[in-house]
Structures are given as C-alpha cells and as structure tokens.
Symmetry: C2
C-alpha cells in the first residue's frame, strides 16, 4: 500500500499515482505474466491494536503484502520459514488450484508442513479475476497474523465502473497467543478463547490501553496502531474490496452516511444491491462501490462491529477521509451504532440478496448426483468439547491425504466412509442433544469424478440452551452455487423445489445461519483432495470440517517438496 502522508502535496501525488495505477490495471498486457514473490516469515513484536504481542509477519508486516496480478498470471511465492521451532503452510483462499492441487497449502490435506529453515515454492495460476485471500492453514497460525489479500484484475471489461480500487481486510484480534488458545481448547475443563479484544481494519485497531496495568505493553501512540485512513476525492467512485479473516467473529461493516453497492462476492459479479451495513463472515470477500458524494468538508467513520454473538468487543474504527481534510481529523459525529447482534433476519436477508449478475450467470446443473447433509453440532467426546459434522469430529492426519491417496498409503487415515447424513427424523435441532454417539475421525468423503454434489449445511442447537451459532463454511478447490437458505430443519422433500437455479451466486465461503440451513451445489471437476470446513479458526481446530477427494487417479506426479512427514518421511538422504 502507498502510505498516506499528512502533507497535502504528497497526498495529491499519491492520488495521481493511484490513478495511473488504475489505468494500468484497466489495460493489462495481453500476455500472462509470472509474478514472483520472496517472503520471509518470522515472529516479531507488533502492536496492531496498540497492545504489544508476538505476531507472525511476512517480510516484516501483518497483514502480509498484497498479491496483485492479472487473470491468467502465474504466481510464485518462495516462502522462507524463519520461525524457530515451528512449521508453516499457507493456503491461497479462493484460488482453485486447477492442475496444482498440491499447492493448496492445507497442512495434512495437500502438503507436509514447511520446516524452519526451509524455503517452499508455491506456484499456481490465478485463473479468474476477483478478490481472494491467503493465510496460514496450519494449527491456529492464521490468528497470529499470517494473512493477506490477492487481487486479480480481469482481462475483460468489468460490468461496473469506478475511479479507484482499494482493499481493506477486516480481522478480529486476541491478546493471548495461539498456543494458549489451542491449549485451552484442548483442556479439561474446556477454556474458551472468549470474544476478541479488538477488531482490526487493514491490520490496525485500538485497544483501550487504560485496561492494561503492565507498563510498556500497551501504547496508543504506537504507529502500528495508527488509525487506518481511506482517503477519497469528492465526487469519485471507489471500489472497496472488503475481506474478512476473523478468527471467530461475524462482522458488519459501515461507512458512515454512505451507501455501498455490492458488486462482487468471492470473485463473482453480484447483481448490484445497496446496503448500509455489509455483513461479512470469515473467509468471505466482497467488492462494494462507494461514491464520495457526501458533505466534503468533513471526514466520516468507517466502522466494523461483531454481530451474531453477544460480545463486548468495541467497534473497529477507521476514517473515510475526504480530501483535502486532514486524514487524522476525527469525524464530528459519533460512529454509527452497530446493528443488533442477534438480528438474524437481516443477515439472512443479505445472504439471500446475493445473486449472480445478469450477463455473468453460470447456470448450475439442474439436478445433482449425490446429496450430502452435514449436521453441525457441538459435542463432548471423551470429556473434550468438540464440533462435529454428522457427529463425526474431524482430526487431521499427519500424512497428507493427497499423498496418501496418490501413493496408496492405506494406513495413513481411517478408510471408513463418513456418513452422508444424520437421523433427520428424530434429531431435534432446537434443543441441546447429548450426541453421545459422536466420535473423532480422519475419515474422508470420496466423491466420484465429474458429478454434481449437493451439500446441505444443517445448523442446530449447541451444547448451550437456545443457542445456535453462525458458521462460515469454506470449500477448497471449488466455487459452489448457493442454491438457498432456510430456517429450521431442511425438508428434503419440499425445500429443493425452492432452490434458485436461475441466478445463484457462486462463492467459496458461505454462512449457515443460526438454526438454519444453507444448500450448495458443486461439480467434482477438479482432481484433488479438498478441505471443506468452518472458517472459524477454533471451530476447525475443534473438528468442524470434512475432506473431499475427487479424481485422484487423474493427478500427475506430486512434487517432492510437499512430502517429508508422516508416512512420506523417507530413508533416502538425497
């Protein structure tokens, strides 16, 4: 990012520079290019919300560098692990990895972890334009700060216009280390991670340092936590790419006094609709168009708030700065209030409003070959609190599935097929169920190649009375059609008739709302082994995920770089 300075002339030159950049982006070279990145990953003390803690940085920063590319470009990231004792893996979230399933970056699924001192080379094509993400996919490292954005520009003109293209990653932030959080989640008695201490807008938040007694730990004047400023020129239109990589929180996002027109979701064009609050779930990306059409004599608040959970996390604040006002001048008004955290209907309605844009609809197959229903429940297994899918709580194996399947290593994981459903007739999704038959397993779904699969995500009551949570489910290796949402128990006889088969949006991450269901459809057309999981860091850690295999027999030789752990550890020293 070009850093904004308080000097007016510098801002002007920055704006000019950005304008030139946009021109370049709008007229890309016809030739696909190779974009080569060299990233060093290490622990450093940073104060993203003014509270000093160890974070994982890429080339000294969190968020890491934005990958900027054109449709069809090849991205090479040489990732050097400079952590002391800890391994790494990075997932390229939303990139389908067609032909390169081994570079999906999912530890235990597609690769062995990258050891300290190793340099791992990821190489893949960004075959579709849009807004994507990258982040650690190992243990709970994402939450330690290892994440960033991928912006892929189209080769064709876009169906909307704007003057400037900007990106903002939203995140929630914890002061405890990920080790402490993971140890608590794996303890008896269970220690929950609790609500985040703050919300970050483009890596910057603002914790109330008066709550910290230890000297030197929290400092509101630390430049790491200087409020994020989005400078705009009156009258111009901005494409804001809004992404969420929260560990836990569903968020709302507002720009005080400004409407936002949603035009992109997870890399797909959306039939435009206007919001004041944009609800966004972990793993999702949206593009909204915002026109700087309000009173230009002042600045405005950008706010983000936790929704869907009762919480004490203060709003994340940034400034929507009308040039030439001083970027550090606070808006004269109070930040707009947060939407009611428990207003499920508003969130459900936004979900339903997201349709594919006319002229850009990819029509789904009208029927499916296999339907899998995933009951989302919280369970106790051997005294540990876990999340489960059809009463199976997922564990990652230590030999990645991709390698085990390709090399016929049959003892690397449980070969039993996991269940395609649950006891639809008798299970009461509205009350606490004991789920005593829940088990932990690393078994996976083997899907026939080139078929159409429907997934019904069925939410239910947690282990707490009258409680059901929001889960953003993310599918690797595919985009899926979102066929429908509903409240209560999915009715397999009546609900499919209501599916939107006309203009469903395609996404890679979708929410299942409290006590509700979400229906998806996808084609098993990408040979590989793909995780499908709740994108809440602690939920996946606690078992809320599954793995799909498709077309393993069509995959070419695996690169040796992904091997070296579990059953793929070898005796050959060269």
């Amino acid at each position: 990012m070009v850093e904004l300075s308080i000097s007016g002339t510098k801002i002007l030159s920055t704006v000019l520079f950005l304008y030139l950049l946009v021109c370049l982006v709008n007229f890309p070279a016809a030739e696909a290019r190779v974009r080569h990145y060299r990233w060093k990953v290490k622990y450093e003390y940073k104060s993203p919300d003014c509270y000093k803690k160890l974070v994982i940085t890429i080339n000294g920063g969190t968020p890491g560098p934005t990958i900027v590319a054109d449709e069809g470009d090849t991205i090479i990231v040489e990732l050097e692990n400079n952590l002391l004792t800890e391994n790494l893996a990075i997932h390229w979230h939303g990139i389908r990895q067609i032909g390169t399933p081994w570079f999906d970056g999912t530890e235990g699924v597609t690769q062995c972890p990258i050891l300290p001192g190793e340099t791992f080379k990821y190489q893949f094509v960004v075959d579709r334009p849009g807004t994507y993400l990258y982040h650690a996919h190992y243990g709970m490292q994402r939450e330690a700060g290892l994440y960033g954005l991928i912006r892929v520009s189209p080769r064709q003109p876009e169906p909307f216009s704007y003057d400037h293209d900007r990106s903002i990653i939203l995140n929630d932030w914890y002061h405890k280390s990920t080790y402490e959080q993971a140890a608590g989640l794996s303890s008896i008695p269970f220690v929950w991670v609790n609500e985040p201490e703050s919300l970050l807008i483009q890596g910057k938040g603002n914790f109330n340092c008066s709550m910290v007694s230890e000297p030197g730990v929290c400092n509101t004047s630390n430049p790491d936590c200087s409020r994020y400023v989005q400078t705009v020129v009156p009258g111009q239109t901005y494409r804001l790419r809004i992404a969420s990589l929260t560990a836990l929180s569903a968020l709302s996002f507002q720009i005080e006094g400004h409407n936002m027109t949603v035009v992109e979701a997870d890399g797909h064009y959306v039939e435009p609709f206007v919001v004041q609050n944009l609800f966004i779930y972990s793993g999702e990306t949206y593009s909204v168009l915002v026109k700087a059409d309000q009173d230009p004599s002042r600045n405005y608040w950008i706010t983000t708030n936790v929704v869907s959970r009762p919480n004490t996390t203060p709003a994340g604040l940034a400034v929507f700065n009308y040039y030439p006002n001083h970027p550090r001048r606070s808006p004269p008004t109070s930040p707009p209030p947060a939407p009611a955290w428990d207003d499920v209907d508003s969130r459900m309605n936004q979900s339903i409003a997201i349709k594919a844009r006319q002229g850009h609809i990819i029509t789904p197959p009208t029927t499916s070959d296999r339907v899998i229903v995933f009951l989302n429940t919280q369970n106790k297994i051997n005294g540990y609190v876990r999340w489960s899918v059809n009463n199976v709580s997922f564990n990652l194996p230590h030999t990645p599935y991709l390698i085990a399947l390709k090399e016929n290593i049959t003892d690397a994981f449980d070969q039993t097929p996991p269940p395609d459903g649950y006891d639809f007739l008798n299970y009461d999704i509205y009350s606490v169920q004991n789920n005593t038959n829940a088990t932990s397993s690393n078994e996976i779904y083997r899907l026939q190649f080139n078929i159409t699969v429907d997934i019904i995500l069925q939410n239910a009551n947690t282990m707490n009375k009258n409680n059901s949570e929001t889960h953003p489910w993310h599918l690797h290796g595919h985009d899926f059609w979102v066929l429908g949402y509903g409240k209560g128990k999915f009715d397999m006889y009546k609900d499919p008739a209501k599916y939107n088969l006309v203009n469903p949006i395609m996404k890679n991450t979708v929410a299942v709302h409290p006590f509700g269901w979400t229906a998806l459809r996808f084609r098993t057309d990408n040979p590989g082994v793909w995780a499908f999981h709740c994108h809440i860091e602690s939920h996946f850690y606690m078992g809320m995920g599954v793995v799909f295999e498709e077309g393993i027999e069509r995959i070419g030789d695996l690169p040796s770089s992904i091997m070296g752990c579990g059953h793929t550890k070898t005796s050959n020293p060269h």
Copy 2:
C-alpha cells in the same frame, strides 16, 4: 517420584518402600536390561511457581519422568510429538552415545527435528553409572519445561555409603514464553530475557502472587506449586543428586544447618569435600551425602539462590523434613542467607576443589596433540547482540552436520575451518572491545580421530564495562578432564605447567568464571559430530557454541528416522 502425603502411616510405608527400592538398586541383576519408555509431549497450562503459563510436559508433567536404569542398560524412549505446530528434539545430557551418535538429540547437529504427530524412537546404552539429564535441544524449548533426570546405578559397589538415594533438579523460571524471549533476543533494539521470576526446586517454586493483578493467573494454593518436601529419618544418610537445568542462572544450594559432602560430579566420583553452599551451573549434576544429624524436632530450609549475576530473583525454598514432623511445617528460622552474588573466589575455589576420587582416577594423557583456545565474547553483528567464540557467532544449519558429513552434502554448511585461537597478544580481556570483525557462521571444527585435544576457555569483558559473566560449557559425546582454572588471560607458556595431571575430575559441563579461564582435555575417541556450547539457553541461541567432528568415516549407516529436513528432504514417498 513417590508423592509424600501428610498421613503419617503413608509416609512410613513410603519410607519402607524407598528402603526396599534402595536394596534393589544396591543388588542389581547382572544382566543388562532394556528400559522402554513411551512419552507424549504436549503443551499444558501449569503453575510451577503458582503463576499459570503454558509449559511443555512429558506424560503430563514437568519435570518429566526420571529414567532409572543400571549401568549397561539400553534405554528406549518412544517420543510422541503432540505439539500443534512445533517440532522437537531431546538431548540425553551426559550420555556419550558411544556407537549411537545419531541419538544425541541435538537438532541441526545430529538429527532433524521431530514433527508434530511423529513418534521418534531414541535408543542408547547408559554405559556408565551416575547422574545425568535429558532436555529439549531445539530452539529454546528446554526453558518451556521439557527436561528431566537420568539415574544410572553402578554394577560395582560405590566408594561411599548412604541409606537413601534422592534426586532434586534445580531450575530458574520465566513467565514469558520462549517465543517471546527468542523474539526479543533477535530484535533491534535487543530485548534481554532479564532475570528469572523464580527458582524451582524439583519443579516447584513460589512466585509472589500479590505482584499479579490479573485474576486467576497466580494462585499460591495451586498444588502445582506446593512446596517441595524432602523427608528424612533422623540419623540416616541421604545421597542427594542435585542437578541444574537453569536457563540462565548459576545457583547456590544449601540445606540449613547441614553439611554436604560432595561425592559425585557429572557421573564421576569426587574426592570427598564438605560444603555448606554447593555452587552449581546449568548442565551440571552433583551427588552430595547429607546426614540427618541435627535437632530432629523441627524442619529445615532447603534454599537455592542466584549467584554470579546481580539479581532480584527470590530464593527457591523447599523443606528438609525430619520425620515425623509435619512435612508442611515451616522451619522456625529464617532461610539461610544467600552467598554474595559477586564472590567469584568462592565459586572458583569450589571448582578447583573438585578432583577425581582416589581409586577412581582416570589419568589423562600427559600431552595433547592440538590446542584450541576459545575466546568468549559478546558482540554486535549487523546490529544484533550476539555471543561469539573467537569472534565467530554460531548458527545452526538446517541440514544436520552428522548427515551432511556422512553423506558428503558439502553445501549444507560453510566448509571453512573456524579459528583455533584469537589475537592473544593484543586482545584486552578486561575492557569492552569492539569486536568489529565478528561474523556469524555455521562452520565447524574437524578433529583428527583418536588424538588428545586441549580446550582453553578464555573469558573476557562483555559489551558492558567491568563485566564478565559465568559460562557453563557443556560437551556432547565426551567427558573431559578439567586440567585447571585461572584468573585473567591464559598464559600458554606458563599456565600449562600448572595443570593437574594427577587427579583431574572428568566432567561434561564446566564453568568458565568471570575474567578467568578453564583448561580441558579430551580424547577424540567417539566417532560423531558433537556440540560444545554454553549451557545458558539464551547464550547458545545467541551463538555461543561450536561443533566438533571426529571419526565421521567410522560411523555406520545412519538411521533414516533422523533425516527429513534441509538437504535430506527427499522425493521418495515410501
């Protein structure tokens, strides 16, 4: 350890049980046995000094289980790494690993790290009786609590007698995580680990919880930090095996009102001498005989204090409990005062007093084939604070030396031989030197096989005026003769004439005192690659170490289990 209960009958039965155990130990079976351990390593919340933090446990505990064996036994430890994202390696400190140099457990030197989910099988012979240690040898994990004791009983009668055999590990303890410490040490500006918050006696200390404002973090009634009690029967004699695994601190150890007769050091019998304070450095072990010959109507303090550094760390306290007094009854007196921290002479004098026991002297060769002088200095390299040996600051490579050398992988580390000395004539060890020529390197010393090598450890001023620190140097794969200690700069013409060649003690860890020197001799008779380094966790991390290779050509096939990292990562999936 058998846990002491407050019930008198239980204590009596415990004492009887221990007595029987001693009888068994005194008459071991003639046959060498295999001792098989299965250890699970993970992070858990513990409160060793009443302050709750994440520690690395073995089978749920820190310190880990004591390995109890007879001379000649084979130890098998199957180590399961249950950490989430972190690798492991365990060093068997004092075990020479004759014939098994690949199981020394030194990450980067003798093996690749053990990945999460892996089970690594260590297998080695404990060929000599004595008191040894084990601990993590990867990153700074030792300090996170991964350590324990090895007690090897002799097949021959010992030259002293006692009624009971007990062990106590001393340690210093920090509340910050090892990640935080390492990040600070690798930062510009440098952030020092500071003095430890407390001292632990057999894993138990007592932090002043009134200094902690956060609720639930520090709790003096937590059983994890119940004061350690050593129960004794009046009139009986106890062999106490005292070991130190401090991260930083040199310690004194006292039993209020009792003399201690030193009889063993690092597995070698010592010509007995009596102390009130036992000075002990990280990596050392001692056996002392203590007779319960004081007023039996009361209990006595066991204390340990930091010496050799100005410090604010409170004494570590335990109770020397005369049966049948209540083990939790505090002694009526104040704990004995700590020796003056800066009394170098007393510590030097104890070092000099440690000689091999008559009848158990292993005579050193009278001459040496190679003399290497190691100047110990603190330096700045590229702005980072480092420790150096002859102005070379050591970095571990990511392909272990043992594998690189055996397999002729020549690009795994710098093949330049490091220097055998420094500028003896001109270097002023008494003042701050700028050491601007210092470099970082992973170069190693190649030693001819079956020769005699002398090492002179030469201490010097640090980067702070009038300051020189104590460094406990530990040699892997060997015991060395301690030929002498001196003050000031070693005189290569005069000092060797004063060497003790008559009855020098053999040890594996030895201190070099402030502004002093220590002279060692060893035979290069153990084919392998062996680290020699300051046992202070942060000092080794900051470069204070070297590596010796000897007889690499005599080493048989390496086990494949030690491979899998750096240049030994392979493409063969089976």
